[in-house]
Amino acid sequence: MQKSVFRKTIEIIIFMVFIFFLFAPLLGMGIWSVALRWYWPNTFPQEIGFDYWLQALGITKSLTLGAVNVLPAFWLSLGIAIIVVIITMAIAIPAGYSLAKLKIPALLKGLILILFLLPRAFPQQPVFINLMLMFNKIGLTGTVLGVIFVHIVVGLVFAVWITASTFSSIPPELEEAARSVGATRLKAFFKVTLPISTPGLIASSVFVFLTSMDEFTGTFFIGIPFVTTLPMTLYSASGSNIQFASVIAILLLIPSILFMIVIQKFLKAEHLGGIGG
């Protein structure tokens, strides 16, 4: 009895610490984003209001340092992320399918997977600096196209690995059954394999989307100074204006949280799907 009380106490403490580390920064951000005046030693802001939100969303204008309209950056980030998802998945689906389903020698298969992993296997800065030097020669630095390319390189790692494992979790007999009743390889893929792997493919696209939304290092080296995505504005704001930084951070969180909910839903659907037999 005593032991269980002791155990419960420990559990509660761990849970509280966990909650603290998880939510305290979020709460701090929330408070900062509405704090107009907040000086030491006050526990809470002396004056609150949505002025910074209105400025960040471009509704009112102000000359405060770092107070810029972040909406263009938000739309740019969103646009880049959507294009990146489309292109990345267009590459990752056939690549993942080939790796999972075709009779590729194990050595070659490993080599291909490592090739996709390679850009992430090294420290990011040197990789991107080299990429920047290469892009400089072909005029891709400072362009949205260059940034999209960098995001694809980063996103492909997750996308190919997740799609490959999604496809390989589907029993080969399902496609064979389709072919035995008369479907071509292509038809079997589109009517059987693709619908069954939708949850995994959506999870994969969500990861790619979030990676693109949050990508900083590559965008910094390739996109600067003309391509200003949301993380870039966050970076420039965080040095000078903590309220703005908080607003941007919260804006960045919104798609992440939305997509986490989507992932949850689809991963559950996959669980209930009863794949196999």
Partner: protein, 359 residues
């Protein structure tokens, strides 16, 4: 309905010779079973027929039309998979309609055909169920229906009943046979279960290590297994090895001598003197003798042994008996209640035992 011929089929996986020089012919409207232990090449042979594997050598003919170069979808062969392979995202209707939709069958015709095939597998009204909402036995029937609904010329079945429990499996055997007879479809049936093969087949092909060991009707194979491997696979539980000592009764019978001095009389299968053979015994061939006078009457094939294990199974008792250097198993009527360690006398009728090649 069609005749399927497999000629000199060989398939390797790397260095493993999965199928070697396999030749057989499936008669129109009959069931041919490919029987063997796991890894004997039976499933690979079936997958070559279906078109999922490309054989290194050999050809497959459907009604004298060479189908080896065709992809699976061009062969018009129905297949039932071991794990059923029903598409989880489609209803029963969707699963059954898929093959018909590809063949551009009209919608009203599809509905009619599905209704008919569901009637055949006794699952009328299940059109809107998803596979996960059905029991294993029901899923198995749907898998069968899916392979039949587009009216293929030939049907392949890869251990279709092995995922069902024993009782259902026995029921489904009869159902399959009934359905197959009614439709008159040619079927190739892969199984590792000898009882299943004996019940459903018109012809059995026994495979071992990628090669055909014996083929014939169930009766031929059961009563006359070609060698020890086949015998062991067809319900033989005990073997005594020896060599042919002499031929008696106009060479109709042989006397097999073992290295520990047993002499067993059995029927001759064109053996020569000195040839190494195995005496194969099924579970029920040993006849216990309790009356000493009875043992005097039959001078040959009477042996003494010692019970070394006994398992009570209700109406019967399963004994393991030590005879010379050999251990033999038998089922016996529960009226003979021997104890472990007890000495017993028993008779082996030459009609019941099988003398077969050792290799």
């Amino acid at each position: 309905m069609a005749i399927l011929k497999v000629k000199n089929l060989s398939k390797n996986f790397g260095k493993v010779k999965a199928v070697q020089d396999v030749t057989f012919e499936a008669t129109e409207g009959k069931v041919l079973s490919l029987l063997g232990p796991s890894g004997c090449g039976k499933t690979t042979t079936l997958r070559c027929i279906a078109g999922f594997e490309n054989p290194e050598r050999g050809d497959i003919y459907l009604d004298n039309r060479k189908i080896t170069p065709f992809p699976p979808e061009k062969r018009g062969i129905g297949m039932v998979f071991q794990n059923y392979a029903l598409w989880p995202h489609m209803t029963v209707y969707g699963n059954l309609a898929f093959g018909l939709q590809i063949r551009k069958v009209s919608k009203s015709e599809i509905t009619k055909k599905i209704k008919k095939v569901l009637g055949m597998v006794q699952l009328e009204g299940y059109e809107n169920r998803f596979p996960r909402q059905m029991s294993g036995g029901q899923q198995q029937r749907i898998a069968m229906a899916r392979a039949l609904v587009f009216e293929p010329e030939i049907m392949l079945l890869d251990e279709p009943l092995s995922n069902l429990d024993a009782q259902l499996r026995e029921e489904m055997r009869f159902e399959f046979t009934e359905l197959q007879r009614k439709l008159g479809i040619t079927a190739i049936y892969v199984t590792h279960d000898q009882a299943e093969a004996l019940v459903i087949s018109d012809k059995i092909v026994i495979l071992d290590q990628g090669r055909i060991v014996q083929s014939g009707s169930p009766k031929e194979i059961y009563s006359n297994p070609k060698n020890k491997f086949v015998a062991g696979f067809i319900a033989v539980t005990s073997f005594i090895s020896g060599s042919v000592d002499s031929l008696i009764e106009n060479k109709k019978k042989v006397v097999v001598k073992t290295n520990d001095g047993l002499a067993i009389h059995g029927f001759n299968n064109s053996f020569d003197i000195g040839q190494k053979v195995s005496v194969a015994m099924r579970m029920n061939v040993i006849k216990f003798i309790q009356d000493e006078n009875e043992s005097d009457r039959n001078k040959t094939n009477i042996f003494k042994g010692k019970i070394i294990q006994s398992s009570y199974l209700g109406n019967i008792i399963d004994y393991k008996i030590k005879v010379g250097n050999w251990e033999v198993r038998t089922n016996s009527d529960a009226k003979f209640n021997f104890k472990v360690g007890e000495e017993v006398t028993f008779y082996l009728s030459p009609e019941d035992i099988i003398v077969t090649r050792e290799d």
